[in-house]
């Protein structure tokens, strides 16, 4: 489980970093989205990875991470998703505006001169 999740995070981050460094605005946008998915998975994994465990303390069971899952990272992820979605949407609007103003999808608004 840990290996799968960390591999997923690693792949997402490397793809995201590569895309963010590309010259086209849309690639940057997708790169930022991939990075934010990776970040969200990472936060999620901080609260112990487990299957079928509830974040609710049961009577009779000791309240530690071996018996239940931590609800706080889940709520953090939820907040981070909402904020990330909003800022990505804003970025998309600015991207469209730049495209409209400069007729180019280069991040600098013009192609690099050789």
């Amino acid at each position: 489980m840990e290996v799968v999740v960390s591999l997923a995070i690693g792949v997402l981050v490397s793809a995201g970093v590569w895309l963010v460094l590309r010259p086209r605005t849309y690639q940057v946008l997708i790169g930022l989205s991939l990075l934010s998915y990776a970040t969200n998975l990472f936060i999620f994994s901080v609260g112990s990875l487990s299957v079928d465990k509830e974040p609710i303390v049961q009577p009779g069971l000791p309240a530690d991470l071996a018996h239940y899952t931590d609800p706080l990272p889940q709520s953090l992820v939820l907040t981070a998703i909402v904020i990330g979605f909003a800022t990505t949407a804003l970025f998309l609007v600015v991207l469209m505006a730049l495209r409209g103003l400069t007729d180019s999808d280069h991040v600098d608004g013009q192609e690099e001169r050789p």
Partner: protein, 562 residues
């Protein structure tokens, strides 16, 4: 020691701008005058509130006075905490000053260049105030996002391809920094199991040996996010293009934005890694010091190299950020207090410089371009028709336009001169007092920093060199822009544009006139910061308000933990 009970007013600096912004969104797009009036009232109230809170926290002159507020009335490590201390009080006042100046300046022209200027300005203030007040790491992230979202809008205010391009880069950089911030928060939570800053600090000594690496990685990632905001070299290449592309009122507001990063570093670093933190004591202090020193140099050379006033002001912000960060990195109260004084001075002078930059550039262009107006302006009910640009038909802004040319030129020249003095740290203005306070703290013999001797003398020298470079760059800009040849049309200056500049510069003069109490305040602030136990105790001793059934639900043990 707490500060009045119940301290509901601690939450007011966040709620007031939020409510004002919500109200202004509801008012609708075209009622400029109502929105402007409401905004001025609210901004004045914010300033008065901030000053009142600052006075309250400093009233008795005792160390360690805090205003703690539990917004959800939950016991401390679980609920959100708002925390007012001297440092946040100081920054609340500075944010309100920058906001007021920016707002007054915008009333002349800029606030009609886009629909959402007024609500965005209030939301910006709300994000700033929230970031200064919160005592919770994740809430700090949320308020960072609020202030960043508002700053994206303000940066784009006025439109045009230059601003949109700068805005795209600015947003991309800040989104990346926010993601690093989140990863850092997650790591710190993973190691300590809490997000409350005071609780984190109190649990750090008990962190297992094997987890220290993770903790330091988390702290370093958080620091990268904050330092990118604070414009530490090499994370500051985004700043000059973004700030110089912004409209003048937005740029004046941005003068305080970099200080949010400085604030977060100062708060968390002094809280979590003080002298007594064992293996983590002063973690990353050298990075702050040397990074700050390089940043001063970068800012100073940038000022020399820039042709546009906006970029010059941007580089001066970088240089002042570097100065404060380098001084903080030494972790000595005397030096920190000087740095805080310098920070206050540089925010006021930096904001004034951004406003002046537009006035002076406009005077040189000799042609008053209308702000990139939306086409609605001409159809506003109170204007009837679009007034011709060269005639002053606007009754509220009589006085200076066009006709009183020498007064306008004299004002611009004098204000630019004062700004130069304050930014370069020359006597008699406040930058000088801050630098002298730092220099004398550096000269004090201190056996504890023997290893940091080289850094100490480098900072000592760089404080002079950066002042010299700033003076050269600003004087050259002064000559180029204000010793204008004959035959240009006289610059026009409206009262609404001159007033905020005069107020900001007046505030720097007031800082000098009242330098002794101001320095005493900064010293008390620095002492509080360097005794993190006070902050931790104040947060952890906060108790929810008991209402009848509450004690039965939450049995509290001897340590105050349910």
């Amino acid at each position: 020691m707490s500060f009045g009970q119940p301290s509901h007013l601690v939450a007011a600096p966040i709620l007031l701008p939020l409510l004002t912004a919500a109200l202004m969104v509801a008012i609708g797009e075209r009622r400029w005058m109502i929105k402007a009036g409401l905004n001025v009232l609210s901004m004045l109230a914010s300033l008065a509130l901030a000053v009142w809170l600052l006075a309250g926290v400093h009233a008795a002159g005792q160390p360690g006075v805090f205003g703690v507020y539990l917004p959800g009335n939950w016991p401390v490590p679980y609920g959100i905490v708002l925390m007012l201390d001297r440092l946040s009080g100081l920054l609340l006042v500075l944010a309100a000053c920058a906001g007021l100046a920016s707002l007054l300046f915008s009333l002349a022209r800029w606030h009609r260049a886009g629909v959402w200027f007024h609500p965005l300005l209030q939301l910006q203030l709300m994000g700033l105030n929230g970031a200064f007040l919160t005592a919770d790491l994740f809430n700090l992230f949320v308020f960072f996002e609020v202030l960043l979202a508002a700053s994206y809008g303000l940066l784009l205010h006025g439109g045009g391809s230059l601003r949109v391009r700068a805005g795209l880069h600015y947003i991309a950089v800040n989104l990346l920094a926010s993601l690093l911030f989140l990863v850092g928060v997650a790591l710190v939570y993973g190691v300590t199991g809490t997000l409350n800053m005071a609780d984190i600090a109190s649990r750090l000594p008990g962190v297992a040996e094997g987890d220290l690496g993770l903790l330091h990685a988390g702290a370093a990632l958080l620091a990268v996010a904050f330092l990118a905001k604070a414009a530490l070299w090499p994370l500051n290449f985004w700043l000059p293009p973004a700030y110089s592309a912004a409209s003048a009122p937005a740029a004046a507001m941005f003068a305080i934005l970099t200080k949010v990063g400085v604030y977060a570093v100062l708060r968390l670093w002094t809280l979590c890694f003080p002298d007594g933190a064992g293996a983590s004591a002063h973690f990353g202090g050298n990075v702050l010091v040397w990074g700050g020193l390089v940043t001063i140099g970068f800012g100073a050379f940038g000022m020399l190299a820039s042709q546009q006033l906006g970029r010059l002001a941007g580089y001066s912000i970088i240089a002042s950020s570097g100065t404060v960060l380098a001084a903080i990195g030494f972790d000595r109260p005397a030096l920190t207090s000087g740095a805080l004084f310098y920070l206050a001075s540089s925010v006021l002078a930096g904001a004034a410089m951004f406003l002046l930059a537009e006035l002076v550039e406009r005077a040189r262009e000799a042609e008053v371009d209308p702000p990139r107006a939306d086409t609605l302006v001409g159809r506003l009910p109170m204007f009837g028709a679009e007034p011709p640009q060269d005639v002053n038909l606007d009754d509220e802004q009589v006085a200076l336009i066009g006709r009183v040319m020498p007064a306008a030129v004299a004002f611009l020249g004098l204000a630019f001169l004062l700004c130069t003095l304050a930014l370069a740290g020359l006597p008699p203005l406040s930058g000088f007092v801050g630098k002298v306070a730092m220099l004398s703290a550096l000269l004090e013999a201190d056996p504890a920093t023997g290893a940091a001797g080289a850094a100490r003398w480098t900072l000592f020298g760089l404080l002079f060199v950066s002042g010299l470079f700033a003076a050269i760059a600003l004087t050259r800009a002064f000559i180029g822009h204000l010793w204008a040849p004959q035959g240009r049309k006289p610059p026009s200056l409206r009262l609404a544009e001159a007033l905020p500049v005069a107020l900001l510069l007046g505030a720097t003069v007031a800082l000098v006139v009242r330098a002794e109490p101001a320095l005493a305040y900064m010293r008390a602030t620095a002492d509080d910061l360097h005794a993190p136990k006070r902050y931790i105790d104040a947060v952890q001793s906060a108790r929810p308000v008991q209402r009848g059934f509450a004690p039965a639900l939450l049995p509290v043990d001897a340590e105050g933990r349910p």
